[in-house]
């Protein structure tokens, strides 16, 4: 029992322990006058971890006298400018010892200084460069994965858009301001906003967060390839890989575009290819051949799926056909990444398998339906036999009755 109690108090002690730089909120006299700011801050992640005003604004919160609290030598800053903001956040967030307790990375400040935003601020002294508080908020800052956070995946595109959608802010940099609108309608935007898929590509997934930089023509493939691994792999086997290396071709964006990427279908072979190729050339024809195989397999798969569904509704056992359908579906799905190799042989292999499987499904269902039909047809001779037997027996019965009457 004694050991259990000791363990409990030790556990509680470790659990409630706060790092050395955290201060007791009760001794924070700033909030006596700045109650409104405290109101904003008290639910923040910093307040919850007892990080008080002085960590960002300096001063001595232990002093009850306002003048003494802000006295020279206390490092007091009423409103830190953007550079000071980055540095003051970095005091803790770039401190390995301090962040170790929370398991947070400490390279944000270093990365920030290499980013387009950081360079604008630190190298060019341009206050338009977004700093920590522009994205994360300040007094009411919460954890990144808190749905209230402006950098929570669902909120992030709108947060970036606060500056990147502002024509006045973007004008000096000649940046387009319709990116957010385009993104919203893109396959990624629809997945994020309509389906709530938080894993989908958003601004920082491609551009980076603290080290945000627009990926160049050559890097865009690496960016997309972080998620679209198989597409990237097959692309590198294809004829466009070299063109991409040589800088003539932007790996993914040349066909799929970038911010307004739409769910791709095989119609891209009719449009995107013509950006560089002409209708008659060999490469275009190869694309058309691949398109034909994919379209044909998809149609066959859809027809086979309907057939299996219909057969199941008719009461036919379709276990084997369902298994074949799944296998065919796997082959057709595999075509999507593999088409990036632009190899007719490569797609042809999957096309052959999918076609054979869908054919097998059709034959299977046809045979089973035929068998059911034959069972029904067999009822005709059965009833002819029964009818004959009934007539014969009845006749015999009538004969016997007739004899009795005689």
């Amino acid at each position: 029992m004694y050991k259990a109690k000791l363990f409990f108090w030790l556990f509680l002690g470790v659990g409630l322990a706060v790092p050395a730089f955290a201060r007791d909120i009760k001794n924070n006299n700033c909030i006596v006058c700045h109650a409104d700011q405290w109101e904003q801050m008290k639910e923040s992640i910093h307040a919850r971890h007892q990080i008080t005003c002085d960590r960002c604004h300096g001063g001595d919160p232990a002093q009850e006298d306002m003048e003494a609290a802000k006295a020279p030598g206390t490092d007091f800053v009423a409103v830190p400018d953007k550079k000071q903001t980055a540095e003051r956040c970095g005091q803790c967030h770039a401190d390995v010892e301090a962040m170790n307790f929370y398991g947070l990375p400490t390279d944000q400040l270093a990365r920030y200084k290499t980013s387009a935003h950081g360079k604008l601020l630190f190298d060019h002294g341009d206050e338009h460069g977004a700093v920590c508080t522009d994205c994360h908020g300040y007094h009411d800052v919460v954890a990144v994965m808190d749905p209230q956070s402006p950098v929570y995946p669902l909120n992030l595109p709108a947060t970036c858009n606060r500056c990147h959608g502002d024509k006045a802010v973007m004008a000096p940099y000649k940046h387009p301001t319709d990116i957010f609108e385009k993104y919203k309608k893109s396959v990624h935007g629809v997945a994020l906003f309509e389906k709530g898929d938080l894993s989908v590509a958003n601004c920082v997934k491609c551009h980076g967060s603290h080290g945000a930089m627009p990926p160049g023509v050559k890097e865009i493939g690496a960016t997309c390839g972080k998620c679209h691994i198989n597409e990237k792999r097959y692309f590198l086997e294809g004829p466009h890989a070299q063109a991409s290396q040589d800088g003539y071709f932007s790996e993914c964006a040349s066909c799929h575009d970038y911010h307004d990427i739409q769910r791709p279908d095989t119609n891209l072979y009719n449009t995107a290819c013509l950006n560089c190729h002409s209708e008659g050339d060999e490469a275009f024809k190869r694309g058309q051949k691949i398109k034909e195989m994919i379209d044909s397999s998809s149609r066959a798969l859809s027809d086979a799926g309907e057939l299996v569904k219909q057969a199941a509704m008719e009461g036919i056992f379709v276990d084997e056909e369902t298994a074949a359908l799944e296998e065919a579906r796997t082959n057709v799905l595999e075509m999507a990444p593999r088409q990036h190799s632009l190899s007719v042989e490569n797609i042809g292999e999957l096309y052959g398998k999918a076609t054979a499987l869908t054919q097998e499904i059709q034959n299977g269902v046809r045979t089973k339906r035929q068998s059911l039909r034959w069972r029904k047809i067999a009822l005709v001779p059965l009833w002819i036999f029964i009818f004959l037997m009934v007539v014969v027996l009845r006749k015999k019965y009538d004969q016997l009755k007739g004899k009795e009457h005689e």
Binding site: G315, F317, D319, R375, K376, A378, L379, L382, W383, I386, M389, V390, L393, R394, K396, Y397, L400, K401
Partner: protein
């Protein structure tokens, strides 16, 4: 050759002596009023034999375990040679057997054949009917599909609500607290070993009593005159020919139903997914529906009265008259019973369903009460 075999047996057995009672039974005259409805008893026997034969075929592939039962029935229906046919004949045969045994009982009731001195034949007949229902209940679980699993769960739960012996009976039937592998084993043993032999001996007693006491005439009790030799209708060949005709028609109906309206296997039993509106097979529906209108114990008491009344009916209705029109009370009770069975069966069938009548959609609650459903407004296209 035939003579040789006959002589071989004649040297060892008293064939003449054995043949005499056999010939007597075969040519025994039946009363004049014997009609087509008197073939229902033989048809019940034919269906029982059909169930035994198709059951033996099913046993070749059937595996009575939770892991294999469903798959083995699926195998029978899809892969085993003509498996689909004997499985369907077995399933349809079970339903038809219950119907034919019931109709046979109804005929006996309407013609007053249960009256003295044939009370015991009736009682044994009622036991046969109850055993046929138990056959249906135990066999229903064996494919181990969702409907079977949940119908058995509800069925055994009802058995568990019987005062004093309920909990014991439920555990005995289930072999544990829930329906599972033990239940399947028990139902399997009851279905393929206990019930067939039990029914065989009880049917033998029933047939013995029928042949021993002869078919009832329409004469009042106590004044019955059994037809003498040369009178009435000979059992063979006259009545057997009639039975042959009905047999062929019944065989045709059985096979046709098996082909045209096969029983689906459905989904494998899943104890974690309770389907909506669990219902027993049609032959238990009226009783199942009646139970809903009463508090638990009263419901069980009321539905338990039905088989009890059937069993003791010959001892309650002691009037001498057999002709239906001269038995107004019996006729009224009979008609009311048939109508209530049909009425509650229909309510049970409709309960917890949505059905369209004359263009209006009605939702039937568990008591079978219809509630008009407002027409669904189609979603507006964007």
């Amino acid at each position: 050759m035939r003579n040789y075999i006959k002589q071989w047996f004649a040297r060892r057995f008293d064939l003449e002596g054995m043949n005499k009672p056999l010939q007597k039974q075969l040519h025994k005259p039946l009363p004049k009023h014997i009609n087509w409805f008197h073939t229902l008893g033989s048809m019940s026997l034919f269906l029982f034999i059909s169930q035994v034969l198709t059951g033996i075929l099913l046993l070749v592939y059937y595996r009575p375990t939770v892991g294999e039962a469903f798959e083995s029935v699926k195998f029978i229906m899809t892969t085993a040679h003509a498996g689909w046919l004997y499985r369907q004949i077995h399933a349809w045969g079970a339903n038809l057997m219950i119907l034919v045994v019931f109709l046979h009982m109804l005929r006996t009731f309407l013609t007053g054949s249960f009256k003295r001195p044939r009370e015991l034949t009736w009682v044994v007949g009622v036991v046969i009917f109850i055993l046929t229902l138990v056959f249906g209940f135990t066999g229903y679980l064996l494919p181990w599909n969702q409907l079977a699993y949940w119908a058995t769960t509800v069925g055994t739960e009802i058995a568990g609500a019987v005062p004093w012996i309920g909990e014991f009976t439920k555990t005995l039937l289930r072999g544990g607290s829930g329906v599972g592998g033990e239940t399947l084993s028990r139902f399997f043993v009851i279905h393929v070993i206990v019930l067939p032999w039990l029914l065989f001996f009880i049917v033998a007693i029933h047939l013995f009593l029928v042949r021993y006491q002869g078919i009832a005439t329409m004469d009042p009790v106590g004044e019955e005159k059994q037809p003498k030799e040369g009178e009435g209708i000979p059992f063979f060949p006259h009545h057997v020919l009639k039975e042959g005709i009905v047999f062929f028609i019944l065989l045709g109906i059985l096979i046709t139903l098996s082909v045209v309206a096969p029983f689906e296997l459905g989904e494998k039993a899943d104890p974690l997914t309770t389907p909506y509106a669990i219902k027993p097979e049609w032959y238990f529906l009226p009783m199942y529906q009646v139970i809903k209108y009463f508090p638990k114990l009263i419901g069980i008491f009321v539905t338990g009265l039905a088989p009890l009344l059937l069993l003791i009916w010959p001892f309650l209705d002691k009037s001498r008259e057999k002709r239906l029109l001269r038995r107004p009370i019996s006729m009224t009770i009979g008609i009311l019973t048939i109508f209530s069975l049909l009425f509650f069966g229909m309510l049970g069938h409709l309960s917890e369903t949505k059905t369209k009548f004359f263009g209006k959609t009605y939702e039937f609650d568990i008591y079978g009460r219809p509630h008009a459903v407002a027409a669904e407004v189609p979603a507006r296209s964007p």
